[in-house]
């Protein structure tokens, strides 16, 4: 009984490690493959559109609402201490350091990550990937690499847009609606937000999340069992695994950046 469980644990571990190994190899294959600019660039543009531009709407809307909620909640707490002047830094810092990169990554995993997994899983199920291989075209380079890089480029851009829109949302509620002084909203923000410490670290976070989410989404799609259940399962797994990985990485990065 006990030995059986031990064996199961061992088998699961081996499988997980093997999966991670395959994912890493795939990632390396995609990242370090010599890019062909003439053919690769139009593919990248197309994927930037699919992955980035089409995610813009959800990012802007959620950024606006999250900024507005932060403005409202922050105001009700700060006004008790007569410190509503600190609303600007509160909104800006929470968005720049945490919410911007993290929520963008979560939304991105749900919006673009799952779509990519399903798309690649379906390509596999309909033998498109196999047939590409038989045409002597490397599917890693033709399918995986442009999507990967499009994701890695899009995510920080989306996170920056999310943060900026969120800060404007906080302004909308805090200043225009609740009557915090506009001057103090911006000046307190400027006094407390540092370009390197806060803005750049947020962007670095978001780049790391982009690598994590894209690697998981593409690997799950490429590794999916090529049936409809297999693809459905892979899509769900992408969202769950990518979200958890983003949160875990967020903790590690936060500890490294702001904990010391």
């Amino acid at each position: 009984m006990f030995v059986n469980r031990l064996q199961r644990l061992g088998a699961d571990t081996i499988q997980t490690v093997a999966g991670l190994g395959r994912a890493t190899l795939m990632l390396i294959g995609a990242v370090f493959g010599k890019p062909d600019v003439r053919k690769g660039f139009p593919l990248l543009i197309k994927q930037l559109y699919v992955v980035g531009v089409l995610s813009l709407l959800i990012i802007v809307v959620s950024g606006l609402f999250i900024g507005m909620v932060l403005g409202l909640q922050g105001y009700t707490v700060l006004v008790k201490f007569g410190a509503e002047g600190m609303l600007g830094p509160l909104v800006a810092l929470s968005l720049l350091r945490e919410l911007g990169p993290v929520v963008t990554a979560l939304l991105f995993a749900g919006r673009a990550g799952s779509a990519l997994t399903a798309e690649i899983g379906l390509m596999k199920a309909t033998e498109q990937i196999s047939s590409m291989e038989m045409m002597a075209v490397d599917p890693l380079r033709r399918i995986i690499a442009p999507r990967f890089w499009a994701g890695v480029i899009s995510m920080p851009l989306l996170a920056v847009v999310f943060t900026a829109v969120g800060i404007l949302g906080g302004h909308l509620v805090g200043v225009d609606w609740l009557g915090v002084d506009a001057g103090s909203y911006w000046s307190a923000m400027q006094a407390n937000v540092d370009l390197y410490q806060d803005v750049f670290n947020g962007i670095i976070k978001s780049i790391v999340f982009a690598f994590v989410v894209m690697a998981i989404a593409l690997h799950k799609g490429f590794d999916a069992v090529p049936t409809s259940e297999g693809i459905a399962k892979a899509t769900t797994e992408t969202v769950v695994t990518a979200s958890l990985a983003v949160l875990a990485f967020d903790f590690v990065l936060t500890a490294l950046m702001f904990g010391g």
Binding site: L122, M123, T126, Q128, S131, E133, M135, A136, V137, D138
Partner: protein
């Protein structure tokens, strides 16, 4: 001098694909056990057998997508499993495979699908590519459908479009995976005609994997019947009809019960019924 002779021999040899003692298993399940077969240049060679014996697997082995456990696969005298990745990709440019589903790229039009291998492997100007694509589409009778997306095609049309893509770069070997499965009689007739005509007109070598007996018998020059991990019968369609093996006869005539039993392997029926009592 010797190397040159070998080279000449390879070029002149009329063997396109030579499978020697192939053993392959997927997971625990043994699929092929020491199987051998030869495909001659310029012929249509058919591989028949019941479903689930890994006919598609065989094509993937020839294409180098899977590696055999033992045995060798020679393509124009060179071993496919021993090739490096770069060599394999180079070799694949001269072969082509028509997948059962067609496997057209769903995000491109029919035209772009056919143009895809040309654009990937050559640097021809767009006007020339256009001419080539239209010629290939004309050959399969789909020139008018060039601006449709694959989702707008019927199953038979998709397969013909895929065929146009497969011959886009004028390969030497073309492998058909179940080209007749799930086709209505008319499109089946079209595909049969196309396989035969393309083979003769372009000087191709064709491998057809199928279990549709009459169609295969009508176009193949040489037929292998595969079952139970081995080749159980081979020969021209004429020879095969006279074949002594009951297994081959059962397969060709489509009898429900015979050498291949109707029942999946199980304990004796009476015993199992008694168990419940």
């Amino acid at each position: 001098m010797q190397a040159r002779e070998q080279w000449m021999e390879r070029i002149l040899s009329d063997l396109m694909v030579d499978i020697q003692n192939l053993t392959f298993s997927r997971g625990e399940r043994l699929i092929y056990d020491g199987m051998s077969m030869q495909v001659k240049r310029g012929q249509v060679t058919a591989i028949m057998g019941p479903s689930g014996i890994g006919k598609t697997t065989l094509l993937k082995l020839i294409g180098g997508q899977l590696k055999p456990e033992r045995g060798d696969i020679l393509y124009q005298g060179r071993s496919i499993p021993k090739m490096s990745r770069a060599e394999l990709y180079q070799t694949r440019k001269s072969m082509s495979m028509l997948f059962q589903s067609g496997a057209l790229f769903s995000e491109m039009t029919v035209f772009d699908n056919v143009a895809f291998p040309i654009r990937e492997h050559t640097k021809l100007p767009e006007t020339l590519i256009r001419t080539m694509v239209l010629m290939k589409l004309e050959a399969v009778g789909l020139r008018g459908a060039r601006d449709l997306m694959p989702s707008e095609l019927s199953g038979g049309m998709a397969r013909r479009a895929a065929l146009a893509r497969a011959i886009a770069l004028d390969p030497q070997l073309i492998m058909y995976d179940e080209p007749f499965a799930g086709q209505d009689p008319i499109s089946m007739g079209i595909v049969v005609k196309l396989i035969r005509e393309l083979n003769n007109a372009l000087g191709l070598t064709s491998i057809v994997v199928s279990h549709d007996v009459p169609e295969v018998m009508s176009i193949a020059d040489y037929v292998y019947v595969v079952a139970e991990k081995h080749v159980i019968g081979e020969g021209t369609p004429e020879q095969l009809r006279q074949h002594a093996s009951p297994l081959v006869q059962q397969f060709l005539k489509g009898e429900a019960d015979g050498a291949v039993p109707f029942h999946f392997k199980a304990a004796p029926y009476a015993d199992e019924l008694m168990e419940l009592l």
